[in-house]
Structures are given as structure tokens and as C-alpha cells.
């Protein structure tokens, strides 16, 4: 019961406190633009990945500990951080030769 209440409070707190800095990444012809995303260190950040290709992609990063399908011609939201300053690489797993980039936390 207590657990449920906590979960409910956490899920409600999400949209209410939605003040995270937001960063957009476009995916076009299986390439990310910008390929290096500068974000502030030490705070939670919202990434909005806009897949403009006609095929689905999987946004994948071991360093960021994230994995999310981004559908064809759609956007997906991924929350990351708070990050320590540094470079965090990510890839589009379905097209890893071209679809790669990094988050720079500073």
C-alpha cells in the first residue's frame, strides 16, 4: 500500500515538475543532428528524439543506460541524468554505422 502511494506520488510529480531542460535531436537518413548534444551536468534532462526516417530506430546508450524505440516519422522522449560532466555516446542500434552521436554534459 505504502509502495503504491509512493509510486502514485512519483508518477504525479513527473508532469507537475516538468521543468527539465529539453534538447531536440533529429534523425534523418540514419544520422543524428546534432551529433553532439551539449547538456548541463548535474540536472535531469529531457531528450526529444525526432525520427524523420521511414523506418523505426532504437535509441541506445550503454553510457546513459537508456534504450528506446523511436518509430518512423515520430518523436520519442527519453529522460537522462543528472549526469556527471563527461561524454556519453549513443547509437541508433538498427543503423549503427551512421547513426551515432554523444551527449556532452558540462
Amino acid at each position: 500500500m505504502a509502495m503504491k502511494v509512493v509510486l502514485l506520488m512519483l508518477s504525479l510529480s513527473g508532469p507537475v515538475l516538468a521543468a527539465e531542460p529539453e534538447f531536440a535531436i533529429q534523425l534523418h537518413e540514419h544520422r543524428f543532428t546534432p551529433s553532439e548534444v551539449k547538456v548541463p551536468a548535474g540536472v535531469k534532462v529531457k531528450l526529444v528524439i525526432d525520427n524523420q526516417d521511414a523506418t523505426p530506430e532504437e535509441f541506445d546508450s550503454f553510457a546513459l543506460n537508456r534504450e528506446k524505440i523511436v518509430f518512423a516519422n515520430s518523436k520519442a522522449i527519453v529522460f537522462i541524468g543528472p549526469l556527471k560532466p563527461g561524454r556519453y555516446e549513443f547509437i541508433g542500434e538498427f543503423n549503427r554505422q551512421t547513426a551515432n552521436g554523444a551527449v556532452l554534459a558540462e
Binding site: P15, E58, F62, I69, S74
Partner: protein, 270 residues
Amino acid sequence: MFGAALIVFRESLEAALVIGIVAAATRPIARRARWIALGAAAGVAGAVGVAAVAQSISMMAGGAGQELFTATVLALAVAMLAWHNIWMASHGREMAARARDVGRAVVRGDAALTAIVTAIALTVLREGSETVLFLIGIASSPGTTRAALGIGSLLGLAAGGAAGWLLYAGLLRVPVSRLFVVTGWLILLLAAGMAGQFARVLIQADVLPALASPLWDTSSLMPDDSALGTLLHALLGYQAQPSATQVLFYFAALVSIFIAMRRAQSHAAA
């Protein structure tokens, strides 16, 4: 082609290992092969179905639908694996005793079967739906690429299946008296790993806080995408840079299922 093989291998590995462990764990149960196959088939059908509606699911809950769906599937799988283990803890000795009477002696284990069939179906569904989406991407690529990627995907699936079979074959060499203890631990670790993944997706959706992240970093020692890292991820839920919340959920599941197993065992002995 190699890239496609690797992607499909990674996605199929965890499901194959789950099936391998469960097949060994249910060895003395009548007609278990049929049930396991049914679970896997239901999972594949589910994966195709989920992939078809995945985009609509993803749009739900303000874009967090994908994570909430995955978290639900993971939570159910953890519950099923826990149920199986608790059932085994109270019936394991009897099963081991009967299994020793060479081959034919089988026990009825409907409850345990329902749990593992569901766990298999859920795991195949979760891993499979991503593979289906990847294959949809392949299908729209030019002809020659498509053939190469298709062959690569089949090779990846075969390699994943082979890994599951190897684990199964290895477990069959464990003496029956100890087999259920070993499979019990393996299933317990699988369940804990899934509980950790449950936390990870909810952190990604901003439903849970990450707390300290990463709690540790062993990415230079054993990277997630190394062969051993991949195997340990599928078996134990290993991650090189997990958040504290994930580790918390991992051990909470591990300890609580273990205690429930112990209780079931002592009740059975009494």
C-alpha cells in the same frame, strides 16, 4: 549482415536462456516440451501483435507508454518466475525423488507449468517485439541488402537458440539431486535482473528517480557489449553503469523471493 546477426542474437539470447533454464527446471513434469513450445509460440505471436500496435502504445501516457508497457511485462514475468520458484521450493524434493527413477516418472505440476509458460511467453514477447520492429526496417531496404540482412537475422536467431540449448544441455549434466537447486538459483537471478530492468525503464520514463547514477562503473573492466557482459546481462542482469534504484530493485526482488522460497520449503518439510 553481421550487424543484423548481432542485433537479433542479442535480442534472442535472453529469451533463449530463459527457455533453456526453464526446460531443465521442469524436467520431470509431464508434457513440458509441448507447454514450453506453446509459451514460446504465444510469445512470438504476441511480439508480432505488440509490434503492430507499438506505435500507439508508445504515444500513450504522454510518450511514456513504451516504458509503462515494458515495465508491466517485466513485472508480470518476475511474478511468474517467483511463483514457479516458490512452488518448486515446496514440491522440489518430491520432484527430485521421482526424477531419479529414470526418465518415465513424471509429476503433475500444473501450477508450475502455468507460471513458466507465461514467463516464457512474456520474455519472448518483450525481446521479440523489438526484433520484429528491426525486421520491419530491414523489409523496406533495397533487395540485395534485404537478403543479406535477412540471412544475418536468421544466423543471429540460430546463435541465440544455440546458446539456450547449450545451457540446457549443460544443466542436464547436473545430478538430479542438485538440478533444482541450481535452476532455482538461476531463475531467482533472472527474476532479480528483470526487476532491475523494471526500474531502469521507469527511470527512463521519469516515473522513478535514478538516485545515484551510476552507482558504479565497470565499463572499462567489463563493457556491456563485450561477450561476457552480454551473457551476464542476460543471465544475471549485469550492467556496467547501473543506477542505485536499479540495484535496489534487483536486491529487493532477490531477497524477497528467496525468503518466500525458504518459507515454502519449511512449510513443506513440516
